[in-house]
């Protein structure tokens, strides 16, 4: 058995199960050597980005901010689904933070960043009507279906937009937008499962 190459601990090795999957880690270790990352640097990628990239990053941050607001409202309205909505809200908060770190010029203003500010959804983000405006608690199946459908559609729209933008931006920003697209697609998949459980007919969202 050949040992895995000794490198400093990385996220890739952790993902692959460090030390227990030697050949697999060898493969992943190769990937590590080929990694670019999205972490900001002192002269971060945001400093040299073209205006179109900054605009795409800003739009992504605004979309994520709108979904933070939507999930927060949904969690209040549907206590039984709060664990789900809180975890997905946290994803969008990570997205906002990550975008701002990589592209400081895309950081939302304090007003629009506030999850309770009522910021308008980004262009390309469906308005999650019931989730964003309703404050009364309602854990009925019908209310769940309505909110899940709204969030599903908003996630789908945001993910589609990130996909399109990931193909237009420079290589400096493409990994982040691609990741946002993938995260959105996975959330769409997850919410679709909850919708099915809630009794929504197949293909109902959208």
């Amino acid at each position: 058995m050949d040992p895995a190459p000794h490198t400093s601990a990385t996220r890739r090795q952790i993902l692959a199960g460090l030390g227990s999957s030697l050949a697999f880690v060898s493969l992943v270790g190769t990937l590590v050597a080929g990694c670019s990352t999205t972490e900001p640097t002192a002269t971060g990628p945001g400093a040299d980005l073209p205006a179109s990239d900054v605009a795409a990053a800003r739009a992504a941050a605004t979309r994520a901010g709108a979904l933070v607001t939507a999930y927060r409202a949904a969690a209040v309205r549907h206590p039984s689904l709060r664990p789900l909505f809180d975890s997905l809200r946290a994803h969008h908060e990570v997205a906002v933070t990550t975008i701002a770190a990589q592209v400081p010029a895309a950081a939302p203003t304090s007003a629009s960043a506030s999850p309770t500010s009522g910021a308008a959804p980004a262009a390309g983000t469906a308005t999650t009507g019931s989730a964003t405006t309703a404050t009364s608690m309602d854990d009925s199946p019908a209310a769940h279906r309505t909110t899940l459908t709204d969030l599903h559609n908003a996630e789908q729209t945001a993910s589609d937009t990130a996909h399109t933008d990931s193909l237009r931006v420079t290589g400096a920003l493409a990994p982040l937008l691609a990741s946002l697209y993938a995260a959105g697609g996975a959330r769409v998949d997850l919410l679709g499962g909850y919708l099915a459980q809630a009794g929504a007919p197949a293909g109902a969202p959208r």
């Binding site: 993902l15 190769t30 670019s36 990570v94 290589g171 400096a172 990741s179 993938a182 697609g185």
Partner: protein, 177 residues
């Protein structure tokens, strides 16, 4: 930071936008390397999904859902592998070969173990695709972006099928840190 990472950051900073054609030289070399990194991860995922599916087969109805996930992953990665091989060859380069075998992190003797293996393989593929988008353009970048999206969903499905709650089964930024 490794030399390779520094070089890729420099390349990424100078990379054309996704709609432009790759230029010869460093961009071309970086694109080939990124595609081959994705291909290597894909080969491993094919092996893992086949191993998981084979191990699940005798476990009966309780393993049916996991077996379906393994088969879905196997099919998806075979299709992606063929596309990646074609893309590498289109660059005039030699595609990374599959290894005869891969040492996996655990023997998939249970449904939970098989699902964990499947998720790990998808995470490695997602990481490769994520990083590749920095140096790829046009159709090959689209291939990487779509591969990342597919891997993220399959990994999440495997984690959910293993019984993880959404809070730990989902990822804020698949393929990234």
């Amino acid at each position: 930071m490794s030399g390779g990472t520094r070089r890729r950051r420099a390349i990424a900073a100078a990379a054309p936008s996704g709609g432009e054609r790759a230029t010869p030289g460093l961009d071309q070399a970086a694109a080939i390397e990124a595609l081959n990194a994705m291909l290597a991860a894909c080969h491993a995922a094919i092996y893992v999904s086949a191993a998981a599916g084979g191990a699940l087969a005798p476990l009966g109805p309780d393993a049916a859902a996991a077996q379906a996930l393994a088969r879905s992953a196997w099919l998806a990665h075979r299709e992606l592998r063929d596309s990646l091989v074609a893309a590498v060859e289109a660059h005039g380069a030699q595609p990374s070969p599959a290894l005869p075998a891969y040492r996996i992190s655990l023997t998939p003797v249970s449904v939970a173990g098989a699902l964990r293996l499947l998720a790990e393989a998808e995470e490695a593929c997602a990481a490769a695709a994520h990083d590749a988008t920095a140096v790829l353009t046009a159709d090959t970048r689209r291939m990487a972006v779509d591969a990342l999206g597919g891997a993220a969903i399959r990994a999440q499905r495997a984690r959910l099928a293993a019984g993880l709650p959404p809070a730990t089964a989902t990822r804020a930024l698949p393929g990234s840190a």
